[in-house]
């Protein structure tokens, strides 16, 4: 599944446990990604059943996190991993925390779908969907980078998170203006704002995962804090 663990360990069971750990994290990533994808699909197609399904499936993400954490604790206690093996364990521990949050945020998006379906579709839904597709592509890319150990791909996502922030800022301003002009927009507008905020947070978690992959592969922290644009909700 991954190329992070190169030569096999003399103790085969140790190698197998590390490989299984990486495979479990990748599987959890796949599930979290599918929740985001389905939550967006449910919002775009106004599909209440799919939204309910996303809410139900978040439980699996939480269960996977607990299961993986248990395996990591066991590995740390029994195998005393060091160097790259330690990084595999620590990276997994950090990544599952981010993925669990991604699942929660997808669930939060899905929960807004029935309410949005009660009001007329707005032109902004398409814009939120575009932002969602962008975030989803970032998440997909970092999860691929994790599976293949390609730190360059992870760093590329880390550098591209500005796109998500810009998308969010533009959407925020447009929605606030639309709600000011038309009181009937306030209901759906508020929900769309929260969805956009959730997507922006998912983008942040994707960059966190990218940072962890860089550490996992190189053993070094990414050099500097990623530059962040102004926060519109603080300035307006």
């Amino acid at each position: 599944m991954t190329n992070q663990v190169k030569a096999p360990h003399i103790v085969k069971a140790f190698s197998e446990e590390l490989e299984q750990l990486s495979a479990d994290v990748a599987a959890m990533g796949g599930l979290a990604e599918s929740l985001v994808s389905d939550a967006l699909e449910a919002a775009a197609t106004r599909d209440g059943d799919l939204a309910a399904d996303v809410v139900a499936r978040d439980v699996q993400v939480d269960a996977m996190q607990r299961d993986i954490e248990k395996k990591i604790i066991r590995l740390l206690a029994l195998r005393h991993p060091i160097a790259q093996d330690l990084r595999v364990c620590i990276a997994a521990l950090k990544i599952v925390t981010d993925l669990e949050r991604v699942g929660d945020l997808a669930k939060s998006i899905a929960r807004r779908v029935p309410t949005l379906n009660d009001s007329e579709p707005t032109a902004f839904a398409a814009s939120v969907d575009r932002m969602g597709k962008l975030v989803l592509s970032h998440l997909h890319e970092v999860l691929d980078a994790y599976a293949t150990g390609e730190t360059a791909r992870a760093v590329a996502v880390w550098e591209r998170d500005d796109d998500v922030d810009e998308h969010y800022n533009a959407l925020f301003r447009e929605l606030v203006r639309a709600m000011g002009n038309d009181p009937s927009m306030i209901g759906p507008g508020a929900h769309l704002l929260f969805i956009a905020k959730n997507l922006e947070r998912i983008g942040d978690h994707a960059t966190n995962v990218a940072e962890v992959i860089h550490y996992l592969v190189t053993g070094r922290e990414l050099a500097s804090e990623r530059p962040r644009g102004p926060r519109p909700e603080l300035s307006s």
């Binding site: 096999p8 003399i10 103790v11 991993p81 060091i82 160097a83 790259q84 053993g219």
Partner: protein, 271 residues
Amino acid sequence: MAHDTHPAPSTVYHPAPAGMDIKVAARDLSVRYSGELALDRVRIDMPDRAVTACIGPSGCGKSTFLRCINRMNDTIDTARVTGSISIDGEEINDRSIDPVLLRARVGMVFQKPNPFPKTIFENVAYGPRIHGLAANKDELAGIVETSLTKAGLWKEVADRLHQPGTSLSGGQQQRLVIARAIAVNPEVILMDEPCSALDPIATARIEELIDELRENYALIIVTHSMAQAARVSQMTAFFHLGALVEYGPTEEIFTNPRDQRTQDYITGRFG
């Protein structure tokens, strides 16, 4: 010389900690046993008042290297040591240096505790007496008490100083041997697998002792336990097939080794 026909082994050196005070330095240090190369042109600077761990698979040259520092290889007829090894900049791989005096400056502790077949007191008093470090009996008794205290053994043996050293437990014997080494005011203490014959509690006591001793001495320890190297040392040197492969701060070697052989060895992947 045979090794001159092939290039010197390359070593990965991590940056030394800022302000590192060098105690023991080796340059181009090679050892042959009956012509067979056991250590190949080692260059290393080891710090004072710190613990340097030498790790590597059996036969990698780490013990051979350790034995250069107190000229123990002199006792092996077939051994030939070339190159330079210095303490505080003074060349010690030189016929003009008396190995007996050198071994007072460079103490050594072995894998199996080797107390003399004498009393606890005599084990510690022997060195100071032959080196004339005590003017009278009271001074000698003082050195014995101080040394046993520094070795963390005094409380356990104060009321039985005249029992045989061999009557102590393995861990106590190892601390007795350390007290014996300390008694002659060494500058460097070499330890060759000092805990491999001890249980985890005795091992922890020795490791705690090593940590205390580094306030006053340069310690160089050979160990097969990666965990022990990680726990007790500030610098780690990885040897393989007679070459120094990688050397740097322990934290770096154990979290981010640069050479694949180091990585494979410390993580248990060596074929």
